[in-house]
Amino acid sequence: MKAIHVNWTKPFFERNRLRGHGFESIKNLKSETYDQLDSQLLYTMLSAANWKKYNGNIKLYTDSIGASFYQRFGLLDLYDEIDINFLNGYSRSNIDPAYFWTSGKIKCLAHQTEPFVFLDQDMIIRNKLPEWTRVNDLTIAHWEIGRGYYYFDKEKWEKDITHVEWPQNFNKDDWSPNTSFLCFNNLDLLKKYHEWHKKLVNTNGEHIPEWFWLFTDQGVLGHIIRENDYKVDTLTNKIALAHHNNVDGTNRYKGKAEKWYNPISPDTLKEFNFEHIWLDKINTQNLRVNEWFKELVEELDCSKYLTDIRWNKHWKNYHENN
């Protein structure tokens, strides 16, 4: 099945205003010119190469700057298809790339004409996707239980948002789909998602609070699913809790919240293993960069993408430890 990766670089150049909680490492990049951390490049390679190994073709949507950056590292050769014009065009629109940094992604999704998989570049699928992911209207990575700043109520919306009305029937307590993996089998659902997204991000220059961004990407998709009774599968039965504050379970006894929760009767036939770097990338020190490098070299035949001088220190480390 065809997958797509999206790298829209326009938000990078507005990164001081970027919204979303996974960007601290990007914001700290000093460069005035486009750059990515080594870890970003490595997990992008892992994501694309593993998809090709187990599941088939992968297409890259990016812009001229993203393509030039990848070309320097030879990464464009990882992709079966590349589209630069579409996002170059979207970059000329008035959509605020810092407020709505995933908008380029959603526009690319909406551009598809047949069922497909979208993968975040930090979403790694190391197996063949099971058939059940392609049966219902949509398969997502997992659901999220919203808490905290990014999850709003009607009062907050009506106080802060003027360009669009509170979505009828929206229930803030429902789960939200994580959009790092999306297998769109029903393109009507995709069409509705795009229509809603357009309405939400065309703000007429109004000031938009930070929490609104996540709704334009995840929250609204959940709302569309419920309003239309679309059937959704998840790669994992586990549900992620926003703002968890207990990493290893040691503080469970005093009510500190862990990241993952199981429903009472999980569907054990529908459980699929994946690696989503996700919020772990906030603290780059903890990333398994050496293991990723080894996997790329030894299992994915990706040494040819690791020839730039930037990888010298990683090769040194690899040879010292293998």
Binding site: D35, R72, L76, Y79, N88
Partner: protein, 248 residues
């Protein structure tokens, strides 16, 4: 403004992207196979099936001058980019306004006075005799035509050429033929044509939108890399560079 690329032979095929990376690119391409490859990848091409010009052992870079001349005849204003000159920032109003300030803009770089050995120091050992001969010729050319600067010789770097002066492009082509230039034919022709001091060149021709050689590539504790970095620092002290391209 057209973006001009040039391709001959098959030594740099690994640098050629699977599709055009910028709007408005045209490739001047030598050889039927190369032409077909570029068309298949989505480029607009200007093919040269055969050419008796710049087909010697050490003068292939003259093809860039032929391409520049022909591109100027056709388009009147062009940006010639090497395949390893990567876009790293959106081309905004400031970029285009900067180009308006001078009709010809070519960045600078430096080679060590001990050209051949300084280059060999950063390459893997046991390079071919053929390359070593070419580096000898390169070193002599830099000494003859370049500007002396500390332990090196400075020359324009033809990896990025902005031009809206048709005569300039024609003259470079004529000079290359007349002087039978070898190795970096394009850069030596420019040095002969501009006929000025380094300081005058900086005022008249130096772009502020990139460095001739990016600092990114100066990573070895080697003479050429130390000198390259030092020269870039010198340029940075004279003029404010806002890089839109990275020439690696």
């Amino acid at each position: 403004m057209k973006i001009i690329r040039v391709l001959w032979g098959n030594d740099i095929n690994h640098e050629i992207p699977p599709c055009p990376l910028m709007d408005n690119e045209v490739v001047y391409v030598w050889g039927d196979e190369n032409n077909q490859m570029m068309i298949d990848r989505g480029w607009e091409t200007r093919p040269y099936h055969t050419s008796f010009l710049f087909e010697g052992k050490h003068n292939a870079f003259g093809k860039k001058l032929l391409a520049l001349k022909e591109a100027m005849d056709e388009f009147g204003e062009v940006l010639l980019l090497d395949w390893d000159c990567h876009l790293i920032k959106p081309l905004d109003k400031k970029f285009y306004n900067t180009l308006k300030t001078k009709p010809v803009q070519i960045p600078l770089y430096i080679q060590h006075k001990d050209t051949k050995d300084a280059i060999l120091e950063i390459l893997p050992p046991n390079q071919s005799i053929e390359l070593q001969k070419e580096l000898d010729i390169l070193g002599k050319g830099f000494k003859k035509y370049g500007w002396e600067w500390e332990d090196g010789y400075v020359a324009p770097n033809f990896g990025f050429v902005y031009c809206r002066d048709k005569d300039f492009a024609q003259k470079l082509f004529d000079i290359a033929i007349k002087h039978d230039l070898q190795t970096v034919v394009d850069e030596f022709a420019t040095l002969i044509q501009v006929d000025c001091t380094l300081e005058e060149y900086i005022k008249k021709y130096l772009p502020t939108v990139l460095r001739g050689s990016s600092n990114d590539k100066f990573i070895f504790n080697a003479r050429l890399h130390k000198l390259g970095k030092k020269f870039n620092d010198y340029i940075d002290n004279i003029t404010e560079i806002t890089p839109y391209f990275n020439h690696v």
